[in-house]
Symmetry: C2
Subunit: 291 residues, 2 copies
Amino acid sequence: MTQLKINHLSRKFGHHEVLKDVSLTLEPNKIYGLLGRNGAGKSTLLNIISNRIFPSSGSVKIDDQSVIENDRLLSNMFLMSEIDMYSERMKIEKIFKQTELSYGSFDWTKARQLVQKFGVKLDAKFGGLSTGYHSIVKLIIALSVPVDYVFFDEPVLGLDANHRELFYQELLQTYEDRPRTFLISTHLIEEIAPIVEHVFILDKGKILIDGETQSIVANSYAITGPNQAVEQYTDGLNVIGHNTLGGLRTDYVYGSLDDSRVIPDTVKIEHVDLQKLFVYLTDGGDYNVEK
Amino acid sequence: MTQLKINHLSRKFGHHEVLKDVSLTLEPNKIYGLLGRNGAGKSTLLNIISNRIFPSSGSVKIDDQSVIENDRLLSNMFLMSEIDMYSERMKIEKIFKQTELSYGSFDWTKARQLVQKFGVKLDAKFGGLSTGYHSIVKLIIALSVPVDYVFFDEPVLGLDANHRELFYQELLQTYEDRPRTFLISTHLIEEIAPIVEHVFILDKGKILIDGETQSIVANSYAITGPNQAVEQYTDGLNVIGHNTLGGLRTDYVYGSLDDSRVIPDTVKIEHVDLQKLFVYLTDGGDYNVEK
């Protein structure tokens, strides 16, 4: 296995440029998070990577070969998306069999385990299931197909907390059993943060952050204290947001702090979690989020 | 304003008993959480309270009067549900006007503020909006209608992290400005926990927990240490789940710890958050969730 490389990808719908010169690399056997607000271009990106739609310009390559219309490379990818691709009247077992035919094989042992753990009925018709169970059936397929690249677009939509935990656990288990590359797009950032090694933040069609989860969080700070002390301390740092409560102020900083600065006794410095960082980075900075 | 009292409510669909003898009380001006797995009966309960469906037995009363077919009491309630009640072709502003007609008044100042903050277009047609924006339009209505009881069924479905934070913030703000009763059903338990004062956990149609959020969390423990030491310490306590990793074991306990017990040096006791407690309580206890 080699890298999957996305080079200078752009996509317009009419006059609207949904993706703007996006470049990124997926290494083999790694779990990635793709984060972005509604409308940031995440689904478009995933659809282009998996050849469901074409880019306006740019390329997606594996091993220097374009994936576009390349059946060999495409049969090594699976996209689980919000859109249901299955006939309403088809039974779950039939959907699994059809998937086996398309992909040449199917991990029935894994699928049967997951069917049992999630409480899916194999003879139920797809159309008769709830939003949550639509997601679950598609998750089971995504974890049972014989591919090296699995892309998830909102995998846990409609799932209750128990089923979300079960999914995260099964994802890590299957990754341990057979390492491959996962790219997960989700709005539940706090829950996915412990799982993803590397994060892409897409904002208004552009890559805003491309880095290891650990180092992103290590570079995210909340600086709290009396108004003046905080403003003085953070002056010139990369302040991405703030909020105030009475005389108390919190500045959110992304990037390294300046070691030469004296930290006033009244000021407290803490790390910010990935979801809070995301909210501040993608909010344009002028919107006040209370803790 | 007086209490809303639900007494011995049951509901069958065919042979399936979705709600089983549910009793609970909503005090005036309080924020409640209604938690439950998919299929636990939450939506059925909310639909019965707001008279969209009838109970098989039991009653819903305000001030000792049944709400069933009682227009005066029902016009003091609003249910925001997953089901879209609005015509696809109707414009957002028209939907607001229609709501004003049904409820006798409408807080246009609040609605216009929220429209601006969430980035809604008043002349957009409801059917043209995404899942996330369907939720947003319904949230705005729920916060602008002149009622004393607001019920939310999955209010943040499809919302990105920024819009979820904005909703929680606006909910608290409107509650401060005009106290009333909110009952919120959601799968995002960790996010709602700081907002709800009181929690109902519904499991397989029955009320499993009915208590103040703070005291529920105060009575939830994770006890971690060497296998034998933990098992010995928790013997006879209300262990609702456990997990093991090598020789290390964590037991999850709900209820008070026995003060007379000696805590071994090797054992660590921590509190568990509401979402984790929920997962253990509603999983039947036989399912192993890794941290």
